[in-house]
């Protein structure tokens, strides 16, 4: 009886371990790029053509959101004015999303000379856009906020809760 119980317990522990590993792998795997309405390639635009990020993400220096380009921006290069069709709205699937309780502001990070790639990863090399390799956990933000905090900011200025949450 006791041996059987031990076996069951052993199997249970093994099963839990396997399940745990599976969950771990699922959570921390590099996310596959999602299907998008247009097979847009940052590798061509930001990589080969070396377009500045701000060419399309126009609000990044002045607004909390970086700004997504409107279709007229795309059409500006892709379609000559004379034959330009009436553009359609595109519904892009987000690859980079912060939780609602974190208030991130692009403009202040750009003003502090944080490169886009330090959070978004090497987007310029992505054929299909995917989430950054390091997930955006609170620790991800804090690593930087702790390191960059100087006496000018005041103790705890960048690491206090209200810096991001309100």
């Amino acid at each position: 009886m006791a041996a059987r119980a031990r076996t069951i317990l052993g199997l249970g522990v093994a099963a839990l371990a396997v399940a745990g590993l599976a969950v771990f792998a699922l959570v921390f795997r590099p996310l596959a790029p999602p299907e998008q309405p247009v097979p847009f390639s940052h590798a061509i635009h930001a990589g080969d053509l070396a377009l500045d990020c701000r060419f399309c993400h126009w609000a990044v220096e002045t607004a909390p959101h970086a700004g997504m380009p409107d279709m007229e921006t795309c059409a500006g290069c892709h379609w000559p004015v004379a034959t330009r069709p009436v553009p359609e709205r595109l519904a892009w699937v987000r690859v980079a999303k912060l939780p609602d309780h974190a208030y991130f502001d692009h403009s202040v990070h750009v003003a502090a000379d944080i490169a886009c790639a330090s959070c978004h990863g090497q987007v310029a090399g992505m054929e299909r856009t995917r989430a950054p390799d390091r997930p955006w956990t609170m620790l991800f933000c804090l690593d930087c906020h702790r390191a960059r905090q100087t006496p000018i900011h005041g103790a705890g200025r960048l690491t206090n809760c209200h810096a991001c949450h309100r």
């Binding site: 607004a63 553009p87 705890g156 809760c161 209200h162």
Partner: protein
């Protein structure tokens, strides 16, 4: 539809219906939407996602403009601020204006024209011969509306005005004194003495913002004396230095006594000693301050008394200095003060073929003795245009949903006459129609566009080149050169004796409700849950009686009484109100709505006792207990200061208790707030501004009764032993030694490096320890998912920069941290310091008296730092050692 506790208790559930409506009319934004990022196909100019756009426009209150700058997030109006360029508003607003966005998205607004469509409507109205048409509106200041009404009148139609809280007495008095209608403006800022006889100068009303500012300016620069005689406590009475409670019917005697002391007419006998003393003191104060005082008499008194006050002001040299008469800002209808009665008589006589009721609810608001309802049903074609499908709409053949001011193209004039072009921030949300287009349809121009109609009005005034000038006035929100012209009038010195009513029985006085006004705001949950300034009641109207009368009749607060007058009766919950004249019962208008009422709203219909000839005072009333009792929801059960005077005044240097906790270091900013209790008039603008800014939910009457209201900022009211009333706005104190921070077991409330006491929702597990540790009781707990029971359409109202709090989470005032962060980020991007006064909290921005000052205590030149050095400065409950950074300036008491 209301977000109420009633919904949660399972007694009412109309959310399903609303969900259907929302799904049909407005796309949702659930998980699917937040997974997607949908940029514009063609980015409109001037819209940056995440950065609000601001437009100058105006809200309407009783026909008058309340000029604002409106904040728009991606096309959604979310918040209004007073227009700083308006000489009338100077950046401030009242409580009603702060609630305007909530009205725009109100789910009870009517959705469709009925019974047919717009084309059918235009066919019907074009068939009406102009000669048989009557148009009924509220007060009209809009030059475009006036132009259209004049054109219709020219064609044979007749225009009438009905305003439940109207200006008829003022108009009549003006005719008596000056022979014609003029407006009277009080320059309170230059007054050394203000004598008020039953006129709620500083209370709610279309001119509140300017008057409160004027009064505050006078208080800042001197010690003006405010003397008030009134039958029931008003906001003005609450801040007065000399207040006398006198029955309404005796007040004309007081005015005559003041006039007699100043050499105008003879005093009539019958004044009591106290009344004589008050009148003599008032006359003396007016006499020794020629040109620096005001005598003002309110609409509840007979027109003769008001006219006598005009003569007194002229005799002591106030006219032209502190009292200025101008040409009327509102257009005077043909029948003047009798405009509405003339309409009702013609309708009852059957001589009206069609009536168009433009934005009003006379079936509910007409005086009972006129019997508007029976007269209306005799009219063959009845058309109603309004925001709600209300009592009047129900009796009409046609109902047209009317555009809200945020959807309108029109123009309005503020009470000082300055015009604002009202421009829409959004296309009509519920298929509503703009008023000028409705009138154009009546004139046979069904395709006319409201914007063009308004431009046509202004083309001759602005001149050429029109287009740039038009753009400029739209952008500024003020049309220069439109202020009311000073009228050179002289008050006739003839003897004006007022009729004095008989003195049997009790006296009823009628007042507009301080939060739902004449009933027009009764469907708005924000304003229902807004505590009334003097009783702190929510969701209800009471019949206010004197504490002595309550004791004599054995009536407790909430006991239902039957009130009879002029052959009609109503039942109402009674409430004893300090400062009430002994035999006076105060009834508040605006409750007892039959349609578009909110579940949970109580009260009674005071209009059922109101008479056309004496709309404000009615003698010979009876009152008896019915034995029933209702529960009233008040947010402040104890309102007597007795024994707790230290709450509102500086104490002889309190020994600051030692603390075990180390002091904080604030290397950059140290935000702080100072509230001047001498300037606060308890108007509630700050409370609604905070609600609009910070996504504060409405919880419903039953939840308020359990003490679960969610307002982050409250205004306490206290009565002291001397009979004086005090207001004290109480936001979070952001203590240096905050008990809440020490109490929280999970560090969800912590001290920030800029002094803010931070509340971190995603860490909060809802133990409520912080709230029980807080001596100021400013923390609010989400006992239910209150955010989820707000109307679905109110999603569009929310400030995207503020978290919508979940069930089980504590919340409180953040000093509008979203505004602080925005100011810091902008300053950083522009590489400049954060300038003092470059931004402020929502409460401080709305405050008409500028009693609330917010800023950086580390900046020695900031206003808030300077106020901290004022001798009146004190910290509330300083002896507890909390060292609050919201502090107060004590009220100045004259003795």
């Amino acid at each position: 539809m209301p977000a109420t506790g009633e919904a949660m208790n399972g007694t009412v559930s109309r959310r399903a219906v609303l969900k259907g409506l929302a799904a049909a009319g407005l796309a949702g934004c659930g998980d699917e939407a937040s997974r997607l990022s949908i940029p514009y196909a063609d980015q409109p100019e001037g819209i940056t996602p995440g950065v609000p756009a601001w437009y100058a426009t105006a809200m309407e209150f009783q026909g008058y403009a309340q000029p604002v700058l409106a904040e728009s997030h991606m096309g959604r109006p979310t918040k209004l601020e007073g227009n700083p360029d308006s000489p009338w508003a100077r950046g401030a607003t009242d409580a009603f204006t702060q609630a305007a966005c909530a009205i725009l998205y109100d789910p009870q607004r009517s959705l469709a024209i009925r019974p047919g469509d717009w084309a059918g409507f235009t066919r019907v109205v074009m068939g009406v011969p102009a000669g048989g048409l009557r148009i009924l509106t509220g007060t009209v200041t809009s030059p475009t509306l006036a132009r259209q009404l004049a054109a219709l009148t020219e064609a044979g139609a007749r225009w009438h005005v009905h305003e439940p809280v109207g200006r008829e007495t003022m108009m009549r008095a003006s005719r008596l004194a000056f022979g014609r209608v003029v407006d009277t403006h009080l320059l309170l800022e230059s007054c050394r003495v203000v004598v008020v006889v039953d006129d709620d100068l500083l209370g709610p009303g279309p001119d509140q913002v300017r008057r409160v500012r004027g009064w505050a300016e006078a208080r800042r620069h001197g010690q003006p004396r405010l003397m008030v005689a009134e039958p029931t406590l008003s906001t003005t009475g609450a801040v007065a230095q000399d207040r006398l409670a006198v029955a309404g019917r005796r007040l004309p005697l007081l005015v005559e006594a003041i006039a007699a002391e100043l050499g105008l007419g003879a005093r009539r006998p019958g004044l009591t000693e106290a009344e004589k003393d008050w009148a003599s003191a008032a006359a003396l104060a007016l006499g020794v301050n020629p040109g620096r005082g005001v005598l003002t008499v309110g609409a509840p008194l007979p027109a003769e008394s008001l006219a006598l006050a005009h003569a007194v002001n002229q005799a002591v040299g106030n006219t032209g200095r502190t009292v200025v008469h101008t040409e009327p800002v509102a257009v005077v209808p043909r029948d003047g003060e009798d405009s509405f009665r003339a309409l009702v008589e013609d309708m009852a006589a059957g001589s009206v073929e069609a009536v168009l009721i433009l934005d009003g609810n006379p079936v509910y608001t007409a005086p009972a003795d006129l019997d508007f309802r029976s007269a209306l049903v005799r009219v063959p074609l009845k058309i109603h245009a309004g925001l709600f499908d209300d009592e009047t709409a129900a009796l009409c053949d046609w109902h047209v949903p009317l555009a809200h001011a945020l959807e309108e193209w029109t123009d309005l004039r503020a009470p000082d006459g300055t015009a604002t072009i009202v421009q829409p921030l959004i296309d009509p949300v519920f298929g509503a129609r703009r008023r000028h287009e409705i009138l154009a349809a009546v004139m046979g121009e069904s395709g006319a566009e409201a914007r063009r109609i308004v431009m046509d009005t202004w083309r001759p005034f602005l001149g050429e080149p029109f287009e740039p000038l038009w753009r400029r006035v739209l952008h500024e929100g003020v049309v220069p050169g439109t202020e009311a012209q000073v009228a050179r009038v002289t008050a006739s010195a003839r003897r004006l004796a007022s009729p004095i009513a008989d003195a049997d029985g009790l006296e009823l006085v009628f007042r507009p409700d301080p939060t739902v006004w004449d009933g027009r705001y009764a469907p708005i949950a924000w304003l229902q849950e807004l505590p009334k300034p003097l009783t702190k009641l929510t969701w209800d109207a009471v019949a206010a009686i004197a504490p002595m009368l309550a004791a004599r009749l054995g009536i407790a607060d909430g006991d239902v009484v039957e009130i009879a007058a002029a052959g009609r009766t109503i039942t109402a919950p009674a409430w004893s109100l300090p400062g009430q004249a002994g035999d006076t019962v105060t009834l508040f208008l605006g409750y007892g709505r039959q349609r578009v009422a909110l579940p949970g709203a109580g009260g009674y219909d005071a209009y059922r006792l109101r008479l056309a000839d004496s709309p404000w005072v009615l003698g010979g009333a009876g009152l008896r207990r019915t034995g029933a009792h209702v529960e009233l929801a008040t947010t402040q059960p104890h309102r007597h200061l007795h024994g707790h005077e230290e709450l509102l005044s500086p104490q002889p240097e309190p020994a600051e208790p030692p603390s075990l906790y180390p002091d904080w270091d604030y290397p950059r900013f140290a935000w702080g707030m100072v509230i001047d209790l001498d300037l606060c008039v308890g108007c509630n603008a700050c409370v609604v501004a905070c609600q609009a800014e910070n996504n504060i939910p409405v919880v419903g009457k039953s939840e308020v009764a359990r003490g679960r209201e969610m307002h982050w900022l409250r205004v306490d009211v206290y009565h002291d032993d001397d009979g004086a009333t005090h207001f004290a706005p109480i936001p979070c104190m952001h203590c240096e030694k905050a008990p809440c921070e020490m109490g929280c077991p999970v560090n969800a409330t912590v001290h920030g490096p800029d002094g803010l006491n931070q509340m971190i929702y995603n860490r909060c597990i809802g133990t409520r320890t912080c709230s029980s540790y807080c001596p100021y009781k400013v923390r609010r707990f989400n006992f239910f998912d209150y955010a989820a029971i707000q109307p679905d359409t109110h999603r569009y109202l929310r400030n995207p920069d503020v978290t919508v709090r979940a069930n089980g989470v504590m919340e409180k005032c953040t000093y509008c941290v979203q505004r602080i962060r925005r100011a810091q980020i902008e300053a950083r991007a522009e590489e400049r310091p954060v300038a003092d006064g470059s931004f402020t909290t929502a409460c401080a921005q709305a405050c008409p008296s500028r009693a609330i000052v917010f800023g950086d205590l580390n900046d020695p030149r900031s206003r808030v730092a300077a106020l901290r050095g004022d001798p009146r400065h004190f910290a509330m409950l300083a002896h507890l050692g909390t060292r609050p950074r919201t502090t107060y300036l004590a009220r100045i008491r004259e003795s």
